[in-house]
């Protein structure tokens, strides 16, 4: 909000975490500064920022417009007139910040390079050293196919896959519920904090995929976790401590999404939503994504996901008393569309 005094980092984190706590989320790393007594007064905030002219006349969104859209989203989220302030309040200059992108579907339906560049720029302005910003996904090949340039130069923003030499998956097998997985060392060893930068997609197994399902690119055995509409596997995977504790923010790339036929790119089912969605509650943002995809399916004359046996049940499970990863209850969310 313009002309309002900037909030302190403490207040900002409090707002973030209070929302999560109100949603039933246990404190994460960012919640260290929160006074739990006030936790029941806030809701999980989800901001949807859209720009109808994002793509201009080309096949790709315009970088400058993407950067502006990101600022609008983050400033709305943080109630800040300063585009850098929200980042400063979320991340310490001495942290290594990982951006977990989603590139499995190739250039048509992967996290846009322009969005990653815009996030990286704001992180640098917030004091994070370029070499301490790590853009990552499963493989170098997928990153390159999505338009990223793989580089492990410590003097610039690094972009690397878990299959890079010397990276790989941690030897320790972590377990929760139905999940027994080894996680990428980029998360377990390299990064202090994670920004989840997923894509808005229908998913022929889980129903939809956004924040929580994007963690299937973190573990070594995602193929083992698709039974029963990926439920409770998605929620269980997000309970593993490195994921749960290092997750800090979701900046969802909803510039192009798909309402059917996902998670692969099938152009006939893709549409330009022209949006960026921001939240710190991964359940609330996934619930929001489900609503967006259902609206588009209805508009295109398709049956709802429950009608085709694809209810994203993992969202409710992630919100339940056992997992407490966030809220799926619209009454406990504040949805801000700008």
């Amino acid at each position: 909000m313009k002309n309002m005094p900037e909030k302190s980092r403490r207040d900002f984190l409090k707002d973030f975490a209070i929302g999560a706590l109100a949603a039933g989320v246990e404190p994460r790393a960012l919640a260290r500064d929160v006074h739990p007594a006030s936790a029941n007064q806030a809701k999980s905030k989800v901001v949807i920022a859209r720009d109808a002219a994002l793509y201009g006349v080309g096949n790709s969104p315009e970088g400058a417009r993407v950067a502006k859209l990101l600022d609008r989203a983050m400033q709305a989220y943080g109630d800040s007139s300063d585009p850098v302030a929200p980042w400063k309040k979320l991340f310490h200059p001495d942290e290594v910040v990982g951006l977990k992108v989603n590139t499995i579907a190739g250039p048509g339906l992967s996290t846009h390079v322009a969005l990653v560049d815009a996030i990286s720029e704001r992180l640098k302005q917030a004091g994070i050293r370029p070499g301490n910003i790590v853009v990552w996904d499963r493989t170098n090949g997928e990153l390159e196919r999505a338009g990223f340039t793989v580089s492990n130069d410590a003097n610039r923003v690094r972009t690397i896959g878990t299959d890079s030499k010397g990276v790989g998956y941690d030897e320790t097998v972590l377990s929760y519920g139905v999940v027994k997985s080894r996680l990428s060392t980029l998360l377990t060893r390299t990064c202090d904090a994670m920004i989840n930068v997923p894509i808005l997609k229908h998913h022929s197994g889980a129903g939809i995929t956004l924040a929580l399902k994007n963690m299937y690119g973190v573990n070594h055995n995602p193929d083992k976790l698709h039974a029963n509409n990926c439920c409770p596997a998605i929620a269980d995977l997000n309970m593993l401590p490195p994921i749960r504790n290092k997750f800090r923010l979701v900046v969802a790339d909803a510039m192009t999404g798909c309402f059917e036929g996902g998670p692969s790119y099938k152009p006939q089912y893709a549409w330009r939503y022209n949006g960026i969605i921001v939240a710190t509650d991964p359940v609330a943002i996934d619930q929001t994504a489900w609503d967006i995809i259902e609206k588009k399916r209805a508009e295109r004359g398709l049956k709802s996901l429950p009608q085709v046996g694809l209810t994203p049940n993992y969202i409710a499970v992630a919100a339940n008393a056992e997992h407490r990863l966030g809220t799926d209850d619209p009454a406990r969310m504040v949805l801000q569309e700008i």
Partner: protein, 169 residues
């Protein structure tokens, strides 16, 4: 009647084994890597990548959760490569070799046609502005373009026809 001796049966058994092996080979779909048209076989199209193949247990490495429906239907192997149309439009071509024609049909029918054209190609086909999907026997072929381009749909159809002619039922 005198029973045949073991020495008399041996050639017969060998012949039978060879015949069964030959029949089994005949029923195996040909390796799909050879089905991709070479560069400039079809005007405007150049092959821009090596063919990658995925066994069923590896398919999720390529298409993540999308693999489930192919696995359920009975995919045997998947081959994929990239093309460029007129040097600028990137197109990925996948050939899914299913266990039966019915399996290919099941996957094909599972996807809503939306506003597709239905060109005469293979057993059934759908053409969109940026993609083409068709099936022929146990094969399911999908072409996906990552950019829009004038005349792209017709060009994909031409590439599809060249590929389809190589598919053996």
């Amino acid at each position: 009647m005198k029973k045949p001796s073991a020495s008399q049966l041996t050639p017969l058994l060998i012949w039978l084994a060879v015949a069964l092996l030959f029949e089994a080979c005949q029923q195996q779909a040909a390796p799909p890597a050879g089905f991709f048209p070479d560069s400039n076989t079809v005007s405007g199209w150049t092959k821009s990548a090596e063919v990658r193949t995925f066994a069923p247990q590896q398919l999720s490495e390529y298409i993540d959760g999308d693999a489930e429906k192919y696995l359920k239907a009975g995919v045997k192997t998947t081959a994929t490569t990239d093309y460029k149309y007129r040097g600028e439009t990137d197109v990925v071509v996948d050939i899914y070799t299913m266990s039966t024609a019915a399996a290919a049909k099941a996957v094909f029918d599972s996807e809503p046609a939306m506003d597709a054209e239905a060109p005469t190609l293979g057993d059934s086909a759908r053409l969109y502005s940026q993609s083409l999907i068709f099936r022929k026997g146990p094969y399911l072929v999908r072409m996906v373009a990552y950019q829009e381009s004038p005349q792209l749909a017709r060009a994909m159809l031409e590439l599809g026809r060249a590929l389809e002619s190589k598919l053996i039922r």
